[in-house]
């Protein structure tokens, strides 16, 4: 898919050698909204999201695909946006942390808050997007499956314990919500094996 997306631009650059930085128009759906932007072929999706589109919730931790802080969903699949060229987004559907739950607070977000599954918070958006993709693909993962799926996301603060618990808890809430046929986000289950949150966020 990289070749398909980049080949036309490469030939464009060849046809117009005097234009130092030819720009490409890209149309994509971002967080459910049709967006058009202009970028250079060499710009990453991460750079365009952050520096051009103001979607700074997606974070740069390493720039070479090793930390997962820039994880977004591209046509529903989790990708490191630092390894995707912005032009590759043409005609595609992108979901960033800002669009994780466009109606409110996703059960994953709620579980992260209640379990204290974040400390500094820089890796959190990437974890949430990866975890969203996991629960979309596998609504009832085991602890090992969560660990395996999230192994591409580095967290340096938490030691992962509370993150794993939060994802498992969110999976339970989502499943319960699905079973009840109602929105799980309003459920307030007890985090596994720990005291319940005593003060909710106003």
């Amino acid at each position: 898919m990289t070749a398909e997306a980049t080949a036309p631009q490469a030939s464009m650059a060849a046809e117009r050698p005097k234009m130092a930085n030819p720009k490409i128009m890209v149309e994509a759906t971002i967080n459910g909204v049709a967006e058009t932007f202009v970028c250079e072929p060499r710009q990453t999706l991460l750079e365009v999201l952050r520096e051009q589109l103001g979607l700074t919730g997606t974070k740069e931790g390493c720039g070479n695909g090793n930390c997962g802080a820039c994880c977004v969903l591209l046509d529903g699949r989790p990708v490191n946006s630092c390894l995707v060229l912005a032009v590759e987004a043409d005609g595609r559907d992108i979901v960033t942390i800002e669009g994780l739950d466009r109606d409110g607070v996703h059960p994953l977000q709620q579980a992260f808050l209640e379990h204290g599954a974040l400390q500094c918070g820089i890796c959190t958006p990437g974890f949430l997007m990866s975890a969203k993709a996991l629960l979309d693909a596998n609504p009832r993962p085991t602890e090992h499956e969560v660990r395996r799926w999230l192994a591409g996301n580095l967290c340096r603060c938490t030691g992962y314990d509370k993150i794993i618990r939060a994802v498992l808890d969110a999976a339970q809430r989502l499943a319960a919500g699905a079973a009840d046929g109602q929105a799980a986000r309003h459920a307030h289950g007890q985090p596994g094996g720990q005291p319940a949150t005593e003060v909710g966020l106003a």
Binding site: G57, G61, V105, G116, G121, C123, Y160, D161, P195, G200
Partner: protein, 776 residues
Amino acid sequence: MSTATTPDVKGTPLPAGTSYRVLGTRPVRHDGMEKVTGRARFGADVHLPGMLYGQVVRSPYPHARIKKIDTSRARAHPGVRAVITGADFPALDSDAVKDLGEGAIELRYASQLIMARDKVVFQGQPVAAVAAVSLQAAREAARLVEVEYEPLPVVQEALAAMEPGAPLIHDDLYTVVPGGAKAQRPSNVAKHVQHERGDVEAGFAAADVVVEREFRTAMVHQGYIEPQNAAASWEPDGRLTVWTSTQGHFSVREQLADLLQMPVGRIKVMPMEVGGGFGGKVQVYLEPVAALLSRQAGRPVKMWMSRAEVFTGTGPASGTYIRCKMGATKDGRIVAAQLYMVYDAGAFPGSPVGAGAVTGLSPYRIPNLRVDGFDVVTNKPRVQSYRAPGAPQAAFAVETVIDELAEALGMDPVELRLRNAAAEGDRLVHGVPFTRIGFREVLAAVRDHPHYRAPLPDGDGTVAYGRGVAAGLWIGGSGTSTVHLTFNPDGTVNLIAGSPDLSGSRVSLAMIVAEELGLDPHDVRPTIADTDTVGHNDVTGGSRVTYATGTACWRAAQDAIAQLKPRAAQLLEADAGAIEFGGGEFWVRDAPDRRIGIKQVMAQLKKTGGPIVARGVVNRLKSAPAFGAHIVDVRVDLETGKVDIVRYTAVQDAGKAIHPSAVEGQMQGGATQGIGWALFEEYVFDQGLMRNPTFLDYRLPTALDVPMIDTVIVEVPASDGPYGVRGVGEVPIVPPVAAIANAVYRATGVRIRELPITPERVWRALAAAGGPSQAG
């Protein structure tokens, strides 16, 4: 009518059997929603009108003379608006030592660290910087800066750097010897620290068992996921505003004032959210560079580092060589100990050998000891603090040797530690007596924990299981903190603090105010204010925020109550001296049914005399040392040497856990960093060049590498500070390395004394010990 008072904190926790209303609960943190929705603004998220992008040009050589820098091609590149080199910075040759709040550096070296002048002393040292209208143009222009270098001999290893005849990295560096004098001839040894007690030779002579071993630890990085960043705007009137992710914006302001030679009053530093620091985000790197680029361009400049720049251009933790000798009598008393410690400072002096020299042996009552520590420069990145700076390396040596002593004596290793554990009044290695500490309580909790006695799985000849324990100490920081409280008519309180929040400390601070004022934690809204808006605050480091800034919050709450009492008196039509306060209500002492809630008093401040500002200031508290001890089970693959952590329990004295979930998080995170330090992480150098500056080749622990980390919080109240609270952030990284090494030994019978404990090292050690036949 009301006077602002600052009552003293006696640190008296509640009597046993009573409980707090807010402390010990787990409210959702105030900044949580911003952080799970991507709205929180970290330094790199800043976007300013007319903003340019900056890029640093870095030395590819670890040691070289700079013969010439030609910036003409970079200046001519389309879109470039500024180019600077070392010549644009004030020339500083002061050997005044700049205390950063966590770590210290001489001014002349700080200046070279941010931009080289005549020579470079580590790979990645900045030599120039550019600013351009786009990120791409800035990167292109950076490649067009032409620097001519004359390579010099590279000094890579600290032990080699100490040799007489080793090439000198700085010809103006003279060893500071014990007592403070400076040596006559320049050297790569910046400092020799020494501590002595009793007669160490006589002590060893009296010992029944003596163990002496050598340990080596690799240089490792804090590994915060957010790279360093800075945005700067130099205003036409000469004022400078800087946005940055830092552990201490007041320290950044002071460093900028020194490095740029301008008054602090002209600098405003905006503390952005911080994506991890662990000690590594105190020293400035990009801030002064962005400032001078902005001054030259007349536009704001934003910059951030790539991960490779973070690895090579910022400050990791010291690699070390430590020789540890300890002697004990048959009855399990440690009678003598000696440490010889070499800490690699990297390119400029300033390793944490001082802290390592104190923390290593202080947990134990040892009548005879001697510690010699050396701060040594090499052509590597200049180190910075990393969580309990200097302590994990020392603990690796001491806690491994204690394990060996226990084995030689036929004693349980926890029992041996308990028999020698320090208590209140015992002196640390540097002579300062311990205030109240909970080391024995922590060790007892380990001894009594089900994990410590649980049976291990049987090995099957291809894998083996083992359990290790180790302890660790952090002395604790205090420093200076200021907070203000203002009051809203709806009964909410603004808590204006200046301690950057790296891990959720806002909620702990708000909980202290809420506890004292009888409010809900979410009635208290914490803000981390910029340097123009709140009084001075030292850096977030040394486990000091909940302890010292928490004390400032406690004091501010008392000040608020004192100021609100006369207002309540007006509303209750009573004498101010007759008003009592408790549980969020004021009442008249002799007529307790005449009472009014604090929120109602807040609602009527306007008509009772106007707004109130309460304040709390802490200048210095006694340190509140904190101890931890960890139990770890490992599985070792005897064919490959790979070590897996299969069970982990961390025990720690928190004094009083304000927000238990936050304390658990610190313990789990610190333990996991320790696991990385023990098993995976190391800078790999070849002739001073780092060969693995990516997270692919420098491997942090992932979710697959660690189990759930069980936590046990012990609460032995500290002598000072509110509720007996102690700092908790540093301690949990101290025990893991030794605990894991001890577990590997129990599993395999081989001692690994060099970090990291890679499969190769284990495999070679097994082969040397006549292990599995395929080895060797």
